[in-house]
Amino acid sequence: MQFKKRRTVAAMCLGIPAMVVEVPEKQWAVIEVEGVRRKVGLHLVGEVAPGDYLMVHAGFAVEKLELAEAEARLAIWKELLDFERAEEA
């Protein structure tokens, strides 16, 4: 299906977060995005392990993701919105 393919390709080039599923060679990892697997270069990020998340751009990992940072930010938003809801109630 054309659309599906486009979408996956877009995801691969535009830096969508991807999970490492396997590290078969030192410099290469297999990642999975939306059920599609692809080999990416690790030359710019150093060692990774299965389960790590990477920002992938045009076939290479450009950075490892610190999911805790995103969690923390989401928690702040949750607090803000909960506080507001409590005020309204």
Partner: protein, 417 residues
């Protein structure tokens, strides 16, 4: 966790907060807040999520010079076409480059005429193409910013390790901080704040953009690309503006480090040196281009195929040549670039107009038949506007709706490309 960054429910609530904050600021300023989204991927995202429409009247979003295909000047396009015409050469490039119109032709037309033009998704794919086809000369068109340049650098190093002799790169890689300096130095851009490109900053670090706040007194926030990322960054940016705080804030900490990715920076400096480069719409910007070091000269298409310039502008070292007016002398001439007639991509890339201001928009220039690169590239502002704004008469209704909630949710879900 990653799903929550695309959560429509959260997006809806966030957009309400962003609108509240923007409304307060709009009231104080007596006009809409003007922000520039520097990056083409943000241009796509703010249009695709419907955010641009949902904030209209409160926040005016301008596109900037962050679409790599769009800022590649006409002259480089002619050079790339000239490469494709060489016998035995295969031009490997990202898809968007193929349709960018030159003065007489495009890679697409050359391909229809028999030239070998191959679309790749990574410089690694181009390298593989050269390995698999030792009798081809593969030229990879290295277009992109700090995010793409280290990938090309890795490929050059790999080619050297493998001793490949049929692979080269035409580097039109560009650096974002210098063009931001040129943009701000020109003095004709009026914006209240910048949304900085998350992926570029992943490499450069957020600190590379600190000068925007320090020298020009304009706040900026590094932003990611999911709806939640963007709304979060907008919220922070509006707060900075309200407070008169001119800092550059890293709003994408889960990907971007303040100092960036040192390995990637080293890869760039190992393979490239910085020099003056021409940008569409800007002319030559000092120190904004990346050119392959002599050490890797055999992988530099400019040197390897010296003399294969377009007929009108012969000679090697094309990209480094000083054409158009330098930004240091003020003004942005187009020099001897052959810009498409009537196309206003240049002003667009400098944040001076929005796509509908161009007389060709939607008429003589559409994605099916583009007059300029901004209508070709998926990251181009004209293409983004055309796809999402002109075809969505529902947007004004949504904007006027008091809650804005129903519409924003639908919009947010749409970002899954």
């Amino acid at each position: 966790m990653l799903k929550r960054l695309n959560d429509p429910q959260l997006g809806r609530e966030m957009i309400r907060k962003v609108r509240e904050r923007a409304a307060r600021l709009t009231e104080r300023l007596g006009r809409a807040v003007t922000l520039m989204e520097v990056c083409g991927t943000h241009t796509m995202a703010v249009s695709g999520t419907g955010l641009r429409g949902l904030l209209s009247g409160l926040v005016e979003l301008r596109s900037g010079p962050g679409c790599p295909v769009c800022v590649t000047p006409a002259r480089d396009i002619e050079q790339i076409i000239a490469f494709a015409r060489l016998s035995g050469v295969t031009v490997a490039t990202f898809g968007d480059m193929v349709r960018v119109p030159g003065a007489q032709s495009s890679l697409e037309r050359e391909r229809a005429g028999g030239a070998r033009v191959q679309i790749v998704y990574s410089p690694a794919d181009a390298l593989q193409l050269a390995r698999d086809n030792p009798r081809w000369e593969v030229i990879f068109i290295g277009v992109g910013f700090e995010t793409t340049a280290p990938l090309a650098a890795v490929s050059i190093k790999q080619a050297a390790e493998l001793g490949l002799t049929n692979f080269s790169i035409y580097s039109v890689h560009k650096l974002v901080p210098p063009v931001m300096g040129a943009l701000l130095g020109a003095g004709d851009l009026k914006v209240d704040g910048f949304i900085l490109p998350g992926h570029v900053c992943a490499v450069t670090g957020s600190r590379a953009f600190a000068f925007i706040g320090e020298e020009y007194g304009i706040p900026a926030v590094v932003a990611g690309f999911t709806p939640v990322d963007i709304l979060d960054a907008l919220y922070v940016l509006l707060d900075l503006i309200q407070a008169g705080d001119h800092r550059v804030v890293n709003g994408y900490r889960w990907v971007v480090r303040d100092d960036g990715n040192l390995k990637a920076q080293r890869a760039i400096t190992d393979c490239f040196y910085t020099g003056d480069a021409a940008w569409r719409g800007f002319g030559v910007v000092e120190g904004s281009g990346l050119f392959i070091r002599d050490q890797y000269a055999q992988y530099d298409a400019t040197q390897k195929f010296a003399g294969a310039g377009p007929a009108s502008v012969a000679g090697p070292g094309l990209a480094t040549e000083r054409v158009g007016k330098s930004t240091t002398t003020g003004g942005f001439g187009t020099g001897d670039f052959l810009e498409p007639r009537g196309c206003r991509c240049g002003e667009l890339l400098r944040g001076l107009i929005t796509p509908p201001d161009c007389a060709l928009f939607g008429g003589k220039c559409t994605p099916a038949s583009p007059a300029g690169p901004c209508m070709v590239s998926s990251e181009g502002a004209c293409a983004a506007y055309y796809r999402y704004v002109t075809n969505q008469p529902r947007l004004p209704g949504v904007v006027n709706a008091n809650s804005g909630a129903a519409g924003s949710g639908a919009g947010c879900r749409k970002v899954e490309l």
